[in-house]
Symmetry: C2
Subunit: 192 residues, 2 copies
Amino acid sequence: MEKKTLGNKSLLYPMPVTIVGADVEGKPNFLAIAFIGIVNANPGMVALGSNRKHHTNKGILANRTFSINIPSRDQLEITDYVGLYSGAKIDKSHLFEVFYGKFGNAPMISSCPLNLECRVTDVLDRGGLDEIIVGEIIESYCEERYLTGGYPDVEKMKPALFSMYDNRYFSIGEYLGKAWSIGKNYKPKDPV
Amino acid sequence: MEKKTLGNKSLLYPMPVTIVGADVEGKPNFLAIAFIGIVNANPGMVALGSNRKHHTNKGILANRTFSINIPSRDQLEITDYVGLYSGAKIDKSHLFEVFYGKFGNAPMISSCPLNLECRVTDVLDRGGLDEIIVGEIIESYCEERYLTGGYPDVEKMKPALFSMYDNRYFSIGEYLGKAWSIGKNYKPKDPV
């Protein structure tokens, strides 16, 4: 069937729903970010895009630290709220109970199931709407009740997903199979 | 409740399931990538991490182009397959019907609901296991049957999610609400 062209758009499905935090002028500030992905292992690293007008960017660039907080689906309203209203106009420092880790200036949200404390390694400006911020995850924080076998369990954390352009949030659905495993069942038609 | 520390790990939930493609030594090659996220809008840009040993990296670095293909949940076995076996050992060029776009050397998978054609803007080496590849999406391709109101619809494409460390694939679940909208219902406890 014929493919239509949709242009140079930010089309990746699904995106994770996160709340990124930074101290801005001495106060914790937070915003919703779905333009984010892991880009390295050992150490874990992330890359994210944040509109260059965002108040939080000031703190990230000044401190060279930030946090990534994974909210549960029960926290979607407040997640959307911190995405709707700028820290330049409203004070978001009292919205959440906050804790600090190794750096002391990357505010993390206690009520979010998973928190990643990051240091900035690179800031890229390639035009467009966003500053591209690359960071190293220096520590991660999670309550025991969200872990299975020592690792975060999406069925316990219940994170949400974001679908771009139609602006819809979704839950995680059913288990489909084991990675690095179910491919062993695949039989290529051409001998390899 | 007390938070446990989990170290500098690649913890982000959920991750998208993609197949990244490149021509390597003149032949299409593909691998499964979940270390990926959007990092810019207008133009859309992506950042991904791919283990520096991967065969596909050679083609991406040589051609400065690559593709991102979003498989549907029905294509999970073959997606996992291209993640399990290296193009250095098996020929993956006949696994998929392939098409090319503007560049002519970024192979895209016809059967995947969504294809992004990309050019490399930056390659970062920050140690660790992966090369960090940043790219601009120069065109995107999608069949009409996966669109709603002109945009890709996750309920039609049925992409899969990846959960890291426990190595599980999941489907997209139920609709939870409208982004840049449901936050208007949130009433902060402290006046702002």
